[in-house]
Structure formats: structure tokens, C-alpha cells
Symmetry: D2
Subunit: 452 residues, 4 copies
């Protein structure tokens, strides 16, 4: 998961990217950066750094000080083991058609095969991220960027939302299944491309539409130069985890506000669990809040907040002492004892992947005297890994791959565990713009035809 | 506002302070620090830094690496204009009885008079914070720390919760009116002193009791050496803003959980506003959440979240561009349009001081199509400045000092503005341990006898 | 100008590179870095940073903490305008034969043509330094690194000393004219490659020999696997500026200690200037010291130090105030007035390129009362730019391209200016291992056949 | 050892302090800082940091950006164990007469007694440096700063050069024996006070005179308001180590240029050693250079540089690996083998304290084939510790306290060791302004009457 943002025809393009990325910060806190094209000096300059957007842009005068009219930015999700700085995007490359910058959200499944084929004919890779592959493939084709892209992307099995800058032209691309999101907006005389609608609206702009699956759009000086579908698959398959977890509740995804989709997940979960008696519905904040509101409304059980999130713990938290580590979940989630004590609680979280965090939450609530914990999840059991950019573990680490629901409940210490059904999830996620989804992590069916 | 934490008789005292301060981080993000006494080497070493606890302790190996058995820590609230580093606490002083460390939450009203008197007889001040005054006064008295403190503190008009370390003894003090909070807890063989109960519980410890108004307590090697009331005023007057805004909802203040007190504020507001028709109750997150839950329950109007907080904006946010500044409230609070559009909304926030932020929120909600905004505050009108440690502005900047409620509503753009009454606030805040409060900012009556 | 260092078969390879680079620090202070191969884990990891070696290695735990047996390092010379961090070496690339690291000292003349040709067939460049070109060319050839190198390097017109690491093999390369230096040494069971002999000796190692012009040498596990001349030009043409300025006086270049070569430059200058009467010979420290010693001895005129260098001014010096800028030469060079006042001085510096610094030095010495300043340079007039890695300006900025010697003297304010003749310089620089040199900057004759 | 600099009546006072400190950087690299008084806003603001002047002033916009007309600065010498940041000067104190800043070079011998006495009457110390004592003593006296100083300083046994700023008045003080240096200069309409003349001259100013032993001078708006001798001892006793080691060779101390004094030390050493046959005179750079030049001239033995200093090793050098540590002297001093091999060398260094570094130098030179090393020191044997601000070790660590000269030669591995005699040293150091010195470290006779 990452976030991308681009704006063109704007005298303060770097500042606009800063604001845009602040509203996409929830999509990644490992690294951030920008690349800015200046139409007068015809230069493309970049600045990247480790950490969140405020760190990178506030600490580094260079970032917002780069003057230019067309800029893209990127926030990178924390993944383990790889150098954050080396892979911080946007990447800038010098190519046969000059300098070009690239920001990528997504993941390429056949990256190793592509790399091997490219390397065989002499390609060298300066980054360890698979985003560089796209640039290689483009440059192996003839013609301009938008001529080369369809041929290059035909070789890729994967998910991508891309924004390029070259010579003052901002080009956006979305993969043929539309797995990763990309939204078009307008702010005054400038077009914006962003991972989520919230980043356009919070910049003061207006959302125009989703970039279509398989669409390439090239924008220059406030005009859409060209827009076409280079390849479109029958099955539109946007990642359903956006609605469950990634997207901001204030964003519209597939034509439906995420907060609303989550409330419907809660509502449908409530119908699934109508036989369970409980005193209160509580979310694991923040991701479970809207599903819990929807559940409570449907079930007519009071909504309450029994856990409060300590928002000062970033993802960069490093424990000074081994013994402190067990306490982290306690530090991130503060319980309000008397709201928990003696209660039969429906506790709502977004998903259950490995089960370790859920186990800690159950122990925390029991230590506060919870009588029953009916654990409800607005995602079905995760049984297959994601190859499209979400950092899920391998099959054998997926608790739902190894255990029945009853076993999971026992393992984590819940009274019972209740997953939303996949049909119900899809029903909740469906908006006016899209009825089908990639739900490979729940179904094992990969839209791009991956067999595992 | 600041937070203090101390622990003794603990082999990992510096790590314990780190964990403790993480849970008090909401009380101040400007600076943080620790001072650690090592009983073997008989040394007292400190480490302070600008920024939040994670920055200071993670970036600075020294902080958690200081080995020792008795440690105190401090988080400092952002105030403008003064050097954050120079005033970061704990302070360490070399005195007639050796090295001593001090962490202070509160404010001294007669600091200038005290300083002038002290300076006249030769005292020099190395910090610009008034906490240094206390140390000066103590050292001008005869006897040990606990012998000197009563005489020294008799000269102070103000509010304070203090923790000292000297020679492995941790000493806690609370002002005679109990304006600032200080709680005693136990973790295994160690005693803890902390500004809030949540910091004790989240460290795995057990809350014992509030330090009494006017109490001095000295603890050493897991034993309470001495505890006595050096001076107690008739009127116990803990700051009521703890319940309204400062304290964590998970803390117990005056014997009542803060979340519960806030729900009661909401309930009583609902009774005050029972004639208002509305479709939904919404909080300004995060501080308005529990009052909104209480209001919704009482008024039987649905609770919903129409505004979502972007938690990645710290207080250290510096805008790169003047024009961006107007957008900041938009960046900190993301609206969910369809929850707002066409609705008659009861919007609940904690307090209204200058009115500028509230005005921005009203404009934001109106731009999303809110039909009516009935603005409800879980604090009465702020009409007098605080001299006890809360960063309120001067009288003329206080909107409620200058306008009627109707004028305020017009000024900020709300359909109407509804302050909780002071009696109702007090009713909501009262717990088993305390029935009276300092509410000087609402009443102009200062418990320590300040006339303005 | 840059410096490179490599060591293999050494359990503390990263530490050894640190020590080695410290002794090459005079060759570049803009950036530094290392890449380390671990034979057990079969991983290649790197760490680079802006600033000098101590900054990069001391501030960054990662640098010396990378465990491995085979490592290379690089120091980068300060050049203007380009991002220091993006071009900090060693570069690490992922190629058809796996990860490979590269450190390069030198410059490619036909880089733009090579890039254009490579880009045309799809190559993308992630750095703006020309060192990446070499890797591209290698990867376009068949076979292993040492099989591909001769074919790849045949396409390059330029100067280079290269060290690669791949799979635990350290490979060194020197260009066919031997323009840039590369020396082979041994330390226990480890081979070392370094830009200068001093870095080998100061590491406790023994200097074996210069890598020959056009030689490729591959070393693994303490054994020279292969060594051969891939291409050798008739005219061995090592850069004569090493003897004049770049190399450490303690290094041996071309079989002659640099300090000795500089003394001989001074001796021959003394013979050229035998008609000039003077009271004292003084160097511009540090680069003029040995030439001045040689001059004084030959001319039997006393040697003295009338200027002392302030060694705390790094190259990163940024003046806080425009008016301070004129004073910088004063801050870098402190005059000892009474050694200068009333004296007829022979002042010896290494070279005169633009004339601006020399002008400031003359004004400084005159302000101290120098009677006559006979300015002597151990380099001939610089009349042509260097295309092989030295940061000389364009022709029109070269003072000797635009003015006669008499005009230069008048311009800078010297009594007269005396350049060593090219034959004398060559005579002084000649060692047992080499009699011919690249002196293109003085003669306009470029060994690789560049016409300008 | 530290350095102080002050300037008044100057619109760019902070920049001027920056330039001044750069020229005093050789006196201390541990920490640096400035305090600036602004006559318009009547504010006194400071900025201090760890590291050298460039680090502190370049990294910290605040330092040179503080606008004001009157500023002082300080560089702090590296000492072990104490927090560099906490003790970085200038100190700023808030006193009965307002804010006051203090920069101090020197050391107080009776600091513990003074502290004990002050603490007894209630004083608290916020720093661990003894400079704070002076401020305490001043503030215990009646009257203005210059009225209080004589009475306060009468209580101090020690050495000090002080510069204060208060309300736009710059006040300089030198101890009654003149142990620490302080020089008065003028730059346009501004007066300057500085530890060394070089800092005045390199700022473009003119040296007026040394502040006299026991003098207090108060300067305001370009006028000397008051200047008087508060106490003068018969024996003027400036520290003779300034001439031997600390001062810049370009400074004038006691009316004699330091370079000249060092040449005379060399000349007199040559006379002491006239029976020794040698091929060459070499300095240990940089501190031995001028003594070696003087020796060579007198003895008519050729001067040469057989050791070159690597100036990139700062004092902050931290070895990454225990085994590297032995190599440090090799890294700091690069030998030029053929200048050493087979030679009978007179090697000149400034002083011999513990003998460890000298031993490493001997081993280094022997490993290069030196035939004989006649080691000559421009300081007599150090037999007593310094209590006046020089970081000498305790008696038992002083090699000359424990061994005869012959034993020392054997211990370090020299052919012989030759200390300048104290009378000869004094003869060389004497200038027009001073004939007597503090030479307590050589004689055990402390001018302020310390008995050990």
C-alpha cells in the first residue's frame, strides 16, 4: 500500500503536493517524497526522505522550496527489511526522452521474470522496488510515453496506479482490472490525480471521476491532451481492502463513501449475528468505528467506546526494552474499564490476519473484566496472500488458513469470532460505479490469473 | 499543562519512565526528558530534548540507556516564544544537599515577585520557566527536602504537582488546593507517581490513591518513608479542565472515569437543549466524542461521526505556504459529506476559547451542506484567564468576554451556541473523591485568592 | 577527483574500508560510502551519505556495522549543483548476474553519446553521475564481468579506476592510459586496491605494485584469480596533477614519493628563477610546502612559514553574511605579519587556475607589508579544461588562456608570476615506474584523442 | 582551555562573533555558542550547541540570525565525561539586574569550597561547570556588575578571562595574575574583546592592547565607559603554555608573535643540544613546526617534513573497532618514509605529558627506518597538574613525575629526550609586554598560592 498524488499547471506545485500527501498519509508512513518539473527552467528535481510527510517536507527545506508547475508525490507504506531511503519515491530516471519521474502504488507479480528478461538484455536496476521495472519496459518500446505504455504494461501481471511527469506533462495510468485506485480532480486551472478523493477535496479541489481500469490519461497546461483505454478486462476488480481498511472513511471509493460502506458492513454483520445477545457494541479504534456504528444501529444495541487509541504511537515505534514489547498493545489501546467490566461486548475490528494482535486485545479486555467478547470482523477470513501490493504474510502465517473459526476463537480468547461473509462484504462495498472486486485474499481467485 | 511521572525501586527505571510518558503524551508534545538516579554509583543523570517522547527517547540512546533505580520524567506542553530546549524538564540542580532533580506540572502566579525577592539576595536563574523558583525557595530553607518544602511552598501562590529525586528518594508534592493532579500507584515492588491514573495502569501497575491536596510524600526502596499534609485549604479545587479536555478518557479523575464524566456532560447538555430538534449528534473528534455519546443517548438522537481526525498532523505543523494555512483545519478534520449534507446537526466540542477554530469548523460543515448546526460545548463560556498552568489567552482575546452567546453564534456561523452551565459541569465532573473544583476560567473566582 | 578503496578476504571489511577512506579523505569530502559483501549470507549491502568519512561512518551505525568479508568504499569530491546524496558511491545494481557494487574515480568524456545510444535501446539512468554508464555497457555484453569489461570499456573515451564487488570477488580496472591511479597492496591474507599507496600503508598493509594501464584484476579469497591487460596504449599517461596537488605527499606515485617530486618541482623552479633576489621562500600551505622546501634548498634562500592554515574551515563552509565572504581567505590563511613585513618573498603555490584566490592571497600579504612577492607555481599555465575527472573550469574562465604571464601578475597583484615549465614539471614527476604523463590541461594534447 | 570573543556597537554582532570564533576554533572544538543583546528590543538571546563552530552556527539558523548589536561567543575545549551541551557557553542568567550573559575561559581552584558556601545559603547550580560560580558571587554583592565584580572575584582562587553582556554593555575581566589572556581591539566603531589577537585581526580589526591583569573594562556604544584595576598582583603570570601550544602562531602574546617565540624555543633547544649530530630537523606537525624551523636555522641542520598531518581527523574521532585504535596515530600522522629511512633525526614536538602518543610516534618512525631519533621538546618536563584550565592529568599520570629523562627515552623508544630548560623557555616566551609567567606545571609553584 502506498499513496500517490500529482498536480499540474500550478505555480505552487510542490506545496500542493505537500498538502495532498498529508491527506494520504494514512496510506504509508515509511517514506515520502516529491518530484517537481519547472516549465521555465525545463528542469525536473526531486526530494525524498524516510519518515512521514511532515518530517520529510518540514525538515527538508528543499522539498517545498522546489519551484515548478507540475509535481508528483508519493507516500510509502512501512515494509520490513528493505532500505526505506533507497526505495523512497518518486523515482527520477534519465531516459532517451529526457528526465522522467514516476510514482507507483501497487505491486507487480511477475517482477522476477520481467527483471530476469530485462537483465538478460543488459538492464541494470538501481532500486530494489519493482516500480523500476515499469520504466525499463517503457523504455524498451518505441515512441512517446503514452505510445510505449500500452506495449510495456501488456507484459506486467500485477496491480498499479501510476503517475509520471515528463516535460511538464502529467500522465496517469491504472491497471486493466483497476485493482489500485486513481482519481481525477480539478483545482482551479489545475488537474489533480490522487489515490483517494479525500486528497482532492481537502486540497480545495473537485472530484471529477475515477480513472478507468486500463486507462491512460495525459494532462498538460490544464488540458487533458489525451485519454484512452489501453486495455480493459471484463472483470473490474478494485481491491476490496480499500473499503475495509486502507481508504480514509472520508473518501469515496467506487462511488460510495467509505464510512457508509463500513456502516453497511456492520449492518450486515449484525444480521449475521442476530442471535447473539450483548450489552454493547464497541469498535477497535480507529478502523472499526464505522462498522460498529452500523452494527449498533441495526442491532439496536448501544454503541460505546471502551477502547481509546493513543495516537502518539507511530509505526516507527521502537521498544527500548524487550519486556516493554508485550505492553505495546496496552500503550496503543487504552481501555476504559468500567465500560468493559461485566459487559457482554460485541467488539468490531476490520480484519484478523495472524491473530496475534487480536489475542492481545482479548487479553486486555478480559483483564478489565469483560464478561463475553463476541468478536466481529468486517472482513472474511484471509486465506490467501495478496500479490497486488498489500503486505499480507505467507499462507502458513495466515491464521484462517490453519484454523477453523472455532479454533481461532479459542486461540485468541474470544467468546466467538464472526467474519462477515464475502457476499455480504461485496454487497456493502458496492457503489454506483462498481459492483465487482478483487477479493483474492478471501477467495484465492486472483483477477490477473495467478495460480498458487 | 504538562505531565509528570516517577518510579522508584526499579532496575529499569528509565524504560519505565519512557512507557509512562508515552501514556501522558497527550499532556504535552513540546519537549520531554528524564532524570535517573543510580543507587550503586550514586549518580543522577538526565537527558532532555525537544519534541515528543518517541523523538526524544528513540533518537537519543542516552535516555533509556541511563541505568538507575529511581527516575522521573516530564512532558512539556507547547507554548509559544520560549526556547523549548532550555526549559525542557526534569531540571537537575546541584545544591547544598547534592544533586536533585525536579519535574513540575503547574504554574506559579507570584513568580515575578518571588524571583525579584530571591534575586535581591543573590539568586540567579538559569531557566526561564517558573519551576526553578521552587528549588530556590527550598534551598533557602533549613533542613532536608521534606523539612524545607512546607516553608518554601508557603511562599507560593499557584498550582503545582511536583516530583523530586534526591539520593534515591522520590518525593511527590501537590499544592494545598490540589489544583494539579498527582496519583500514587504501585507496580510490583516499585511506587509510581503520575499525573494520571492511565499512566500507572498502562504500565501494568495498580492505582492506589490521589495524592491529597497539600500532601508531601517521600518514598524510598519500595517503602513510603513519610507522608503528611503540610498545608490543606478548606476548598479542594482540582482543575475542572482535566475532565473537560486534558485528561485521557481512560483516566480516573476525582474518583470518576473521565469518559464517564464527559458522557454526563453530554447528558446534561442534552437536557439543557431538549427543545432543539435535530437529526444527528456528532462530535468534533477526538475531544467531543464521549460528550456526544452521552448527549445522543439522553436525547435519543442518533450518534454519528461526520468529521474524522487526521492524526498525522502534530502540533509542530509548520505550513510551507501562507495560502495553505487556511486549509489546515480541513487537513486536521476530514468531513464525510453525505453524513452532513441536509442534516440538522448537534455538534459537540469541548470548549470555545477564541472562536477562530470553531469558525473554521462551521464553514467546513456548511460547505458540506449542513442544514443547521447546533453547537454544544461541554465547557461554560471562558471569561477569565488561567494562572495555574493552562495556556489561555488574555481576557480581551476570550470571545465570551466580549460577546453574548447570540453574538458568538453569529460570529462563528452556527445556528446557535449552547454552553453547559457551570452547575451542570460540576455535577458531571464530581466523583466519589471530590465535589468541588477550580473553575476560575468560567467564574473568575480563583481558589488561591488572585484578584484581577 | 575521487578516491576508491577495496579489501577482500577480511572479517572486518567495513572497518577496514573506513580506515582506508580516512587516508583518502583529501581526495574528496562531499560524500562517502561503502558496499559490503557477506560471503556467508551472500548479501551485498551498502551505506552512503553526504559529508566526510567521519560524518558518514560515525553518524551512521550501519556503515561499519555491516558484517562482511569483501568491501569497497568511495570518497566523492565536492562539485557544484548536483545532489551529493543521489550520486554518492559505491553504486549497487541488480543485474543479470545478481547484485554488483561499483566505485569509480575518473570521468567519461563521451558520456552523453554513450547515454544516448544506451537510452535509445531502452536503458534508464537512476543517477546523474557518469559512473552508471560503465555498468550499463558491461551488462550489454555477454559473459562474466571480466569477460564483458574489455568489450564494454572499448566504447569509453575517458579515465577511470574502478573497483567492483560481485559474489565475493573484488575486481579492479584501470583505463588503458592509466590516467587515474590504482594501487595493489596486501594486508595479511587480504588484498587491497586503493587510489593511493598511503591508504594501504596506513592500514598496516604492504604496497605490491600499481595496477597497470589497461589491466583487469580479479581477486577472491586472498588469491588473484585472474589478471590481464585488456587494452594498453603506447603512451602511459597518468595524470600529472596527482604529483602537483591531489595525492598525499606520503604516497608514492609512478614509483616516486610525492613529497620528493614536489621538492624537485621546487628545485627546478629555483633554477628557472635564479636571477630573482629574495629574502625568504614561503609556501601557501599545505599544498606548496614541499615545493617551497625544495626551492629554498636549491636557491639557498631561507625557508619560512609566513602563512598558517586554519584547518577547521572545511569545504562545506557557508558564510552567514555576504560581507564576510571577502574575509574567507583571511580565515583560511592566517598571516604572521612580522615574517612578511618588509620582505622580498618567493611565495610558492601549486597552481593558478582562475586567479581569484591568488589575488586574495597577494592582497593579504601586501596588507601585511610584503615588499616584493615573486609568485612561483609548481604547475605550468592551465590552458585547457580537464575531461578526465578534475573539476577545472571552461577555457574562458582559465586565466592563463586569456592573459600573458605579465598580465596575470598585474591582475593578481604579484611582483611577477613564475610557472614551472612543462619539461621541468615532467622531469620532477618522473619516477622509476613512469616517464610520461597526461598533461593535457597544460598542453591541450589529450591522450585519448579528444579534439576541442 | 577555551576561547572567548565579544563585540559591541555592531549591527551584525552575531555574524561577527561567528567569524571571531572561527579564528579561535583551535582553542576548543567540543561546543560553541553565542549570546546576543538587541538594543532596540532590549532582549538577550542565546544559542549553543555541541561540536565545532561551523556545525553549531551553520546547522542552527538561530545562531547567526539573532539580530542584535552586542554579542559574545565561546568555544569549549573537549574534556571527558561531562555533558557537552549542558555546559556549552555563553551562559545566560536572569538576575536582580535582569538578564546577563557570561563567557569564561579559565578555571577556579577553590570551586568546591565556594559552591559549598553558596549552597549553604541557598544557591542552586544548574550547570556542572565552575563558570556559574562567578555569577553567583557577583549576585551576592551589592551594586552594579562592575561594582560587585571586585568583591566577588576576591573570593576566587583561579584563572579567568571573562566577558559579560548586560543591557548592551560588554564587560571584560582578567584575573589579577593575568593567567588567562584577553585582548582589546577595535573594528570601525566597535570594540572587540578576544582570547587572542588573531581573532581581532582576522575580523579586519586592529589590536589595541592586552587587558591588564586584574583589569575590569566596561564598554558601551563604542565607548569605554570605565576601565580600572580591581586587584593586581606583583607577579604578572600569564600561562606560558599559550606560547608553547595553545595560541595560534599568528597571534601576538605578551607582545611577541607566537611563531617567533616558538622559533626562539627551537633556537635555544639547538644550543642545549649542540653536541648532537643529526642529518635533519623535523617537526611533529603542526605544533612543532616553528620550533623546528628555529632549531634548524640555529643548528644549521636541514629542516624537512617527514611527517604530514591528516587534518580530517577531528577530536571527535570515534574508532569503530578496538583494533583500529592502535592505528590512529598512523592515521593522524602520515610518514614520508624516504625522508626518515636511515636518517639521524632531531624530532621536535611541543610537550611530553603522558608519553603514550610520543611512544607511538617513535614506533612509527622506527618502522620507517629512522636511524636515530633525538626527541626535543619546546616544553620542560611537566611535573605538576594545572589548576587554571588546562586539561593535564594527575601527578601519577605525568611521565616526568615518575621517570628520569633517560628512563623516558627508553620508555618511548627515542635515542634521547631533550627538554628545553625552564629559563630558556621563559627567555623565548618573553615579549615586550611581559617577562614573567605562570609555569606551575613545570615548577610546581602556583602563582595564586596553591599548595599540593
Amino acid at each position: 500500500m502506498c499513496g500517490v498524488f500529482g498536480i499540474e499547471n500550478n505555480d505552487k506545485a510542490a506545496s500542493a503536493v505537500f498538502t495532498g500527501l498529508l491527506n494520504l498519509q494514512h496510506r504509508g508512513q515509511e517514506a515520502a517524497g516529491t518530484a517537481v518539473y519547472n516549465c521555465s527552467s525545463k528542469t525536473l528535481r526531486g526530494c525524498v526522505g524516510a519518515g512521514n510527510v511532515l518530517n520529510v517536507f518540514n525538515n527538508n527545506a528543499a522539498a517545498t522550496a522546489i519551484s515548478g508547475n507540475c509535481a508528483i508525490g508519493h507516500v510509502r507504506y512501512a515494509t520490513s527489511g528493505k532500505s526505506s531511503l533507497q526505495n523512497a519515491q518518486p523515482f527520477i530516471f534519465n531516459t532517451k526522452s529526457g528526465f522522467i519521474a514516476l510514482a507507483h502504488n501497487g505491486n507487480i507479480y511477475n517482477d522476477k521474470q520481467i527483471a530476469a528478461r530485462l537483465q538478460k538484455s543488459g538492464a541494470i536496476f538501481a532500486h530494489t522496488s519493482d516500480s523500476e521495472h515499469i520504466m525499463h519496459l517503457v523504455e524498451r518500446e518505441k515512441g512517446s510515453l503514452i505510445e510505449a505504455l500500452p506495449k510495456a504494461l501488456a507484459k506486467i501481471n500485477g496491480a498499479y496506479a501510476l503517475i509520471f511527469i515528463q516535460d511538464g506533462v502529467m500522465t496517469g495510468v491504472r491497471d486493466p482490472y483497476g485493482i489500485r485506485p486513481l482519481v481525477l480532480g480539478k483545482l482551479g486551472k489545475s488537474y489533480i490525480l490522487a489515490s483517494e478523493s479525500v486528497a482532492i477535496e481537502m486540497s480545495g479541489g473537485e472530484v471529477l471521476r475515477d480513472i478507468a481500469p486500463g486507462e491512460i490519461i495525459a494532462i498538460e497546461k490544464g488540458k487533458i491532451k489525451k485519454s484512452f483505454i489501453f486495455e480493459r478486462k471484463k472483470n473490474y476488480a478494485p481491491c476490496i481492502f480499500e473499503q475495509i481498511y486502507f481508504a480514509s472513511p472520508a473518501s469515496k471509493v467506487c462511488g460510495k463513501t467509505v464510512a457508509k460502506a463500513r456502516m453497511e458492513m456492520g449492518k450486515l454483520l449484525a444480521r449475521q449475528m442476530k442471535d447473539i445477545k450483548a450489552d454493547v457494541v464497541m469498535p477497535v479504534p480507529d478502523s472499526g468505528v464505522f462498522a460498529a456504528l452500523g452494527f449498533a444501529k441495526e442491532a439496536k444495541i448501544p454503541f460505546d467506546m471502551g477502547l481509546v487509541r493513543n495516537h502518539y504511537m507511530g509505526r516507527s515505534f521502537i521498544t527500548p526494552d524487550q519486556k516493554v514489547r508485550e505492553n505495546i498493545v496496552r500503550i496503543k489501546l487504552l481501555p476504559i474499564k468500567e465500560k468493559i467490566k461485566g459487559k457482554r461486548i460485541i467488539l468490531i475490528d476490520d480484519s484478523l490476519v495472524r491473530g496475534t494482535t487480536s489475542g492481545k486485545i482479548m487479553r486486555l479486555m478480559k483483564s478489565c473484566g469483560a464478561k463475553e467478547i463476541h468478536f466481529a470482523l468486517s472482513a472474511p477470513p484471509v486465506i490467501s496472500p495478496c500479490f497486488y501490493g498489500i503486505d499480507t504474510p505467507t499462507k502458513k502465517e495466515l491464521i484462517a488458513h490453519n484454523m477453523t473459526t472455532a479454533q481461532i476463537a479459542k486461540f485468541i480468547g474470544a467468546s466467538n469470532v464472526n467474519f462477515i461473509t464475502l457476499p455480504n462484504l461485496i454487497k456493502a462495498a458496492q457503489g454506483t460505479k462498481c459492483k465487482t472486486f478483487c477479493a483474492a485474499c478471501f477467495s484465492g481467485k486472483y483477477p490477473t490469473g495467478i495460480k498458487i
